[in-house]
Subunit: 255 residues, 2 copies
DNA sequence: CTAGTTATATGATTTAGATCATAGTGAAAT
DNA sequence: ATTTCACTATGATCTAAATCATATAACTAG
């Protein structure tokens, strides 16, 4: 019911977007942009409690990559080579079942990590895909593990982030079992609103994959919300008009 | 689909039950039973990679508590004071939604932890209840955090356990969204069988709370399995007769 | 030993939401 | 500018599983 935005509770200092000027190059080692990446790591709860010098050290291990809309950052099942933090844009991570069903695991933006725990295992648990123009910072697995070992607080941070993340998923399961589709959809809309503000860049299909329903039902419910004046929308974009009503619908679905 | 037993992937050295002789006392500090508790902590993946002396040290911080069938070990929402590992018996942890729906989070037995991550937060995420006669070992929060700080490998272990646990929950969500109730029920029966062997001590209601369905449907499906000779059962007990068939039903539900 | 409580059993009814099917629509591409 | 493709829209149908309802069996507490 009160499970927070699917950012795993990670990173979210709002209105904190840094201007970056990186065009043409697919990958590059930061020099002039070190300041930018320091801001990203500072915003990342994984590194909470580290001082400026330590954040600087971490940033110096990172390099930057950009991805165009639709491009994949890594795939479920691949062995993980990098740790990723989002610097710019929106990334979704999702899982696919053997029957082809998709569920979205997380909608990540500035300061959110994509795979905090995967580097401790053999495989990526999820697939990460750019929703719009995206820049991520990456740290080599080896370096990342070195840093975790050097600064034990990082592991502690991850434990508490993952713990909350797990609890979030239990809440999601409770909703899946107990709430109506409409409630769930409104719930996710509200969560996304809390994280991203009134304008959401996602399709009904993606919303369906968050709420665990079908594209058709997602479309139907959103049409209803539109008629009721709670949202407006265009292709791939949803604008929240009446947050209060949305929130109330997330609690008690009025048929 | 292949998500493992709800023990969070933690602890499971089978046929490893230690005889304990502790009657009458509700709590006591181990002396003669130190050996017993060392075995428990050795079986607990949270402490993997620690040597015998270190395990000994950990065990020396622990004390033992027993709970009768139905008794609560801790409650969702309470501030956590202890870290718990199961020494004997079966404990279920579960969550309740605002509408009163239950989901079982974990069925824990010998060597499984009950709240690996809660001690890093403010509240217990779940409620823990004894399913039968239970003995747990507990370590004071302060001592536990001291140990985690002293032996960084513990935090690393927890990270990888929680990471796997999270992935398990994603799989559970995928199943909830994509598979039939029969498949899910068979799936959980099979997982429980893998962990506990042919005899399972749980009610249809508890099984329903694992699979995210109602008690009635759980009863109906189990009746069917009974007629088909796949299980036999008595009150609060299920005996797996045909594992192969069960496994196949978990994959493709036959009508 | 009996009453009370908890688990199992099954039948009848309802319904939310999936599924199938077809069509319109805006954006991007060549 | 018209073809293409990915989104949105909506209608018709179907069904798995929830809900409601009632009964019996088994355990356990007084």
């Amino acid at each position: 019911m009160i499970y927070c935005l699917l950012g795993g509770g990670e990173g979210l200092r709002k209105g904190f977007i840094k201007r970056v000027a990186l065009k043409g190059m697919e990958k590059f080692n930061l020099k002039g942009d070190l300041n930018t990446s320091i801001e990203v790591f500072k915003a990342c709860p994984t590194f909470a409690g580290l001082n400026r010098d330590q954040i600087y050290e971490i940033a110096s291990f990172s390099s930057s990559h950009r991805f165009k809309k639709g491009e994949y950052i890594f795939h479920q099942g691949d062995p993980p080579h990098f740790f990723y933090v989002v610097q710019k844009g929106i990334v979704k991570t999702f899982k696919v079942s053997s029957h082809g069903k998709h569920i979205i695991v997380k909608i990540a933006s500035f300061g959110d990590t994509l795979n905090a725990s995967a580097l401790f295992g053999e495989r990526h648990f999820v697939t990460a895909q750019a929703i719009d123009e995206v820049v991520v910072l990456s740290i080599k697995k080896k370096d990342y593990l070195f840093l975790v070992e050097k600064y034990p607080i990082i592991a502690m941070n991850i434990v508490s982030i993952l713990g909350k993340g797990l609890d979030n998923e239990y809440e999601r399961i409770l909703d899946l079992v107990g709430e109506t589709v409409e409630q769930r959809l409104c719930h996710f809309l509200y969560m996304l609103f809390s994280k991203f503000g009134t304008t959401l860049l996602l399709t009904r299909e993606e919303l369906a994959e968050l709420a665990g329903t079908t594209t058709e039902t997602s479309i139907r419910v959103l049409s209803k919300l539109k008629s009721a004046g709670i949202i407006s929308s265009s292709r791939g974009k949803i604008i929240i008009l009446d947050q209060a009503k949305l929130q109330s619908l997330a609690q008690h679905s009025h048929q």
